[in-house]
């Protein structure tokens, strides 16, 4: 029964909502998809990995405390520092802020969940399983040992024959799935699932930071994933992408890695800066100054950060002019950083600052990060970089940036939002002591390392002799690190105490003005019993009783419609009400999908390729299962949403979140493809031993078949969503069949071309050509599946002239495949011609 009038009884409304939104207890928890639970899981798991990374750090410092220490030999030490860096960057920092974003964003934006709850859950399992592969490797003594940036040829099979490097490549790629999933989901959530009235310029700054971060992840991770796949292919099948003797180039790996690796640093910093911009105004007791300035500088930072990767490669013999350019671009990042820094200080200066515990950690940020930023400018100065590159000066700099720019804000965030997570306030706080131990310990450890580096101590050495003059510095550094470790232990104890024994917290204890504080504490699964409408950047000040009004069901959607989980979707810029988004309930399917994905990755890792293929096919099949029974079999048209307003369901509008998901996924996919094409051209221009001994002679028949197939598929897909065709089931299914056949023909063409490539192990040119063709072939094969699936959906009654979402998403795929296919054909026909002449 539908009750679309506002329920006046809050308890009854709560019970109704709770029944459909809740996650079942016991083993049923494995089926959780709710953002509050999944976000919490991300955060807790990330802290566990922080503990592991921290223990590894302590091992490093114990080993370096005294000269000629016999504690760890080089074999173990190399694994330890590699895993320390890898765990901290990939398994701690990124998942931690992903979890925080997942937990907070829907609440801050006035929504009931993320746009794709099952995707969050799937991402979480991928993260957990991928991370476990690395940790199991560590426990078995098989951990990667080539440094966290895994430079080739050291990480190639010749010089690292064991499984260690494969564990890194496979484990990290597995984890990156969760990063890409989070990126897509965060963007779609921020774009679409906001409270009506929250136009972009009324969004909380935290959402802006996360939006930009997510875009950076979307474009930053694909180059790393491509690099990892190429390296794994080289290691497993001997295709020589990085082997200079056969036309490959170790520098290609460095470019792909840092194309990811530099933005990565900002990807870690920006969410923490988002925390700064959220907490600081609360403790300054005024609105932040320069909202627009901050937004512009975040965007500027994102763009700049993609132009800076070469500053990690100043010692590889880069041409003059390029050095000057990248040096200048690197220093230019100081501008957007300074804008934010002074916006924060200005906010404090013009407000009435309060020195509460989270603020103390924010001050720690100012101190530590300012120093890291200043040494960063120094490192951007090329001649100086030549001296201190790869020394402990760089180790000091990177920890000042990462610990200052990430850990301190995150500790502040922990204390700030903990009452929200748990509903509890601390009885006694060890936080101040913990702060001082961490702060003093940190500076003791790392300030000194600047000097050790200048005195010539390189990074990644497992010991040193007493003639070097570094003994005292290293000893003090190690002592400092143990002080810091005690501080972190105390922090952990404090948090555990507050979670288990804290007293009942009052609502909105800090007097914040963002919407997440309008939920109950701890929040119910659905966040808000009814959704607010937003008229300013500080929704909590506008309507004093807003929390109570919402709980009474006096906002939007203050009712349950047919047992469906609903939240609202808005037009991106204006925040105008646009659609009712239906969300899925708890389900085990993300877990099962992640398990078969794990079968794929473990199959590749152990070189059971048949198992891997089965895992891959099963993953695709599982992903298609996500939509089974999901959708509407009849047109709904406008539905009441309360407050006298109406909106259509998301399946009947053009700007549905899943449309965006496909668009964004294709952006990421396109970036991966561009990285591959860039790699091919890079090798041609820069690598030794070119031109190749043989050139590909692409068959005309195969090429023609490929072109015809791609064109037919793209055209048919376009026709299938034309209004006149959509309306008639036989017609649209016919066009879908044409699209499937077109993709099938293209697949055949590309396979023929692949078979025409002479032995791809002979030269990087042949290897790159082969992989480029395989990339398109895979997309065409998936195109057959998707077109076929469109037919299945249509026959099952989920498609109509109004409900065309499934087909429109398919059409995006077919168009994209045609695009990359044509580019591949141009490249493989064009390149031999240019080289041959």
């Amino acid at each position: 029964m539908t009750d679309t009038t506002a329920a006046t009884d809050p308890i009854r409304l709560h019970k109704q909502l709770h029944r459909i939104w809740r996650t079942p207890p016991g083993f049923g928890r494995l089926s959780a998809v709710n953002h509050t639970i999944v976000g919490r899981r991300f955060i807790i798991t990330a802290f566990v990995f922080f503990g592991i990374g921290g223990i590894l750090a302590m091992l490093i410092r114990a080993q370096l405390a005294t000269p000629r220490s016999a504690f760890l030999g080089p074999e173990i030490y190399n694994q330890v520092f590699t895993m320390h860096g890898t765990v901290m960057m990939f398994l701690f920092a990124i998942p931690l802020f992903e979890g925080l974003a997942m937990y907070l964003l829907p609440k801050m934006l006035g929504a009931r969940d993320m746009a794709f709850p099952r995707l969050s859950a799937y991402g979480y399992w991928c993260y957990l399983f991928g991370g476990s592969i690395l940790i199991i490797g560590l426990v078995l003594g098989l951990a990667p040992d080539g440094g966290w940036f895994m430079y080739t040829p050291l990480s190639s099979r010749t010089y690292t024959p064991g499984i260690n490097a494969d564990i890194w490549l496979i484990g990290i790629t597995f984890v990156e799935i969760s990063a890409l999933a989070a990126a897509i989901e965060i963007i779609a959530t921020i774009f679409k699932t906001r409270a009506p009235g929250m136009s972009l310029d009324k969004m909380p700054l935290f959402a802006w930071y996360m939006l930009v971060t997510a875009f950076m992840m979307l474009f930053g991770f694909p180059p790393l994933i491509v690099g990892s796949i190429l390296l794994e292919i080289e290691r497993a099948f001997d295709l020589p992408f990085f082997d200079p003797a056969r036309g490959g180039d170790p520098l290609l790996w460095q470019h792909l890695f840092w194309l990811f690796g530099h933005p990565e640093v900002y990807i870690i910093f920006l969410p923490a800066a988002g925390v700064m911009s959220t907490l600081l105004p609360v403790f300054a007791r005024r609105e932040i100054i320069g909202y627009i300035w901050i937004v512009v500088s975040i965007v500027a930072m994102a763009f700049l950060s993609f132009g800076l990767w070469v500053h990690h490669m100043f010692t590889v013999g880069i041409p003059h002019l390029a050095l000057a350019f990248f040096s200048a671009a690197s220093t230019a990042v100081a501008f957007p950083t300074a804008v934010q820094f002074f916006a924060w200080i200005g906010t404090l200066a013009t407000g009435r600052p309060q020195l509460k515990l989270p603020m103390l950690f924010l001050l720690g940020f100012f101190f530590v990060f300012a120093m890291g930023g200043l040494t960063g400018v120094m490192l951007a100065i090329v001649p100086f970089n030549w001296q201190v590159h790869d020394t402990h000066f760089v180790v000091a700099h990177l920890h000042y940036v990462l610990v200052g720019g990430f850990i301190f804000p995150m500790l502040a965030a922990a204390y700030y939002w903990l009452p929200h997570f748990t509903g509890r306030a601390p009885r006694l706080s060890l936080g101040i002591t913990a702060f001082w131990l961490i702060f003093i310990g940190f500076n003791l450890t790392f300030l000194i390392m600047h000097l050790t580096g200048l005195l010539g101590m390189p990074r990644r050495i497992y010991t040193y002799d007493d003639a070097a003059g570094w003994e005292w510095l290293n000893l003090v550094s190690s002592i400092g690190s143990f002080v810091m470790a005690i501080g972190f232990a105390l922090f952990t104890v404090d948090i555990v105490l507050q979670v288990t024994m804290g007293k009942r917290a009052r609502r909105n204890p800090w007097g914040a003005k963002t919407l997440e504080w309008a939920t109950a504490m701890p929040p119910p699964a659905y966040n808000f019993a009814s959704l607010p409408s937003v008229t300013s950047r500080t929704p909590l000040t506008d309507a004093r009783g807003i929390a109570v009004d919402l709980a009474r069901g006096q906002g939007y959607l203050g009712f349950v419609r047919e047992g469906r989980l609903e939240t609202l979707g808005v037009e991106i810029t204006s925040g105008r009400l646009e659609q009712v988004i239906r969300l899925p309930n708890s389900t085990h399917i993300p877990l099962y999908t992640a398990l078969v994905t794990a079968v794929f990755f473990v199959g590749v890792l152990l070189k059971f390729y048949l198992v891997a293929v089965i895992g891959f096919v099963a993953t695709i099949a599982m992903l298609l299962m996500w939509t089974r029974g999901w959708g509407d079999r009849a047109d709904r048209g406008l539905m009441p949403v309360g407050q006298g307003e109406e909106a259509p369901p998301h399946t009947e509008v053009t700007g549905a979140p899943s449309n965006w998901a496909m668009t964004l996924a294709l952006f990421a996919n396109g970036t991966a493809y561009a990285s591959l094409a860039f790699g091919m051209l890079f090798l041609w221009v820069v690598a030794p031993n070119w031109p190749p001994p043989v050139l590909l002679d692409p068959g005309l028949l195969a090429s023609a078949l490929a072109v015809a197939g791609l064109a037919a598929a793209a055209f048919a897909a376009m026709r299938s969503v034309a209004p006149a065709v959509l309306a008639k089931a036989p017609q649209r299914e016919l066009w879908l069949a044409v699209a499937a056949a077109g993709n099938g023909a293209a697949l055949a063409g590309f396979i023929m071309l692949m078979m025409a490539v002479p032995d791809p192990t002979r030269h990087a040119y042949l290897a790159a050509t082969f992989v480029l063709l395989a990339y398109v072939a895979l997309h065409a094969a998936l195109g057959v599946v998707f077109a076929g699936y469109g037919i299945v959906r249509s026959r099952a009654g989920y498609v109509s002239a109004m409900r065309s979402l499934d087909l429109r998403i398919g059409a995006q795929w077919h168009r994209y495949t045609a695009g990359i296919g044509l580019i591949a054909l141009l490249l493989i026909h064009g390149l031999p011609r240019v080289m041959g002449s």
């Binding site: 200079p244 590889v316 501008f335 200066a349 100086f384 030549w386 390189p458």
Partner: protein, 218 residues
């Protein structure tokens, strides 16, 4: 081993750069921290300053004033550190491999001679090193004389350095290159002009160039 205890012009100019930057950075750091302290000691002190003062002044003008001269100075200083390409400068071919350094020179008679793990140069004279690797990436670094440069298989990188006075200078491999990365050290021996030819004369002739070594592209 210290980069601040310099013995050659390249390292010396970088050390000067460091001291300049250190002083600048310290002043900036103290200024920002003082500002922050003031905000808490005297709350509301900035109440009168308009927001744009912070954003334009602190965010744009301040970094512009600091960075522009720094960049110009650094570019100018860096320009003088690049190899001159002067044919009169003595050349040494350096090949790094796990885990040793090989140096090939021409002696007074023009015949190729070589040494391992000890590089002989003439004090007071610049020398150009053409560096490559036979296996993984290494990095050539003599901290007291000059910055480092990577030895990359398939590429030749060039470093020019000069030792002001005769002496023994320690060199290391600065890029992580496997289990014996730490042991991959070498000595740079700078000889007085009158001894230098005799030293080169005493070196064994270089083996024929390694045919398996990848052809380099600069």
């Amino acid at each position: 081993m210290s980069t601040l205890d310099t013995a050659g012009p390249a390292a010396a100019s970088i050390a000067t750069l460091w001291w300049v930057m250190l002083i600048g950075a310290t002043l900036i750091f103290l200024f920002v921290m003082a500002l922050l302290a003031l905000v808490f000691i005297r709350p509301g002190i900035g109440r009168g300053t308009p927001a744009s003062w912070w954003l334009v002044g602190g965010g744009l003008a301040f970094p512009a004033v600091v960075l522009t001269p720094l960049l110009i100075y650094a570019l100018w200083a860096g320009e003088r550190l690049f190899p001159t390409g002067d044919p009169a400068v003595a050349q040494v071919d350096v090949v790094a491999r796990q885990w040793e350094w090989n140096f090939t020179y021409r002696n007074a008679a023009g015949a190729p001679v070589q040494s391992s793990n000890t590089l002989h140069i003439q004090a007071g004279q610049p020398v150009q090193l053409n560096i490559t690797s036979a296996d993984v990436i290494h990095s050539f670094w003599v901290p007291r004389l000059a910055g480092k440069i990577d030895a990359i298989p398939g590429h030749v990188t060039v470093l020019q350095l000069k030792a002001d006075a005769p002496g023994l200078y320690r060199g290391i491999c600065a890029e992580f290159c496997g289990t014996a990365h730490l042991e991959m050290q070498f000595a740079l021996q700078a000889h007085a002009a009158e001894d230098f030819n005799a030293v080169l004369g005493g070196l064994p002739p270089a083996a024929a160039p390694d045919v398996n070594a990848p052809r380099g592209r600069p």
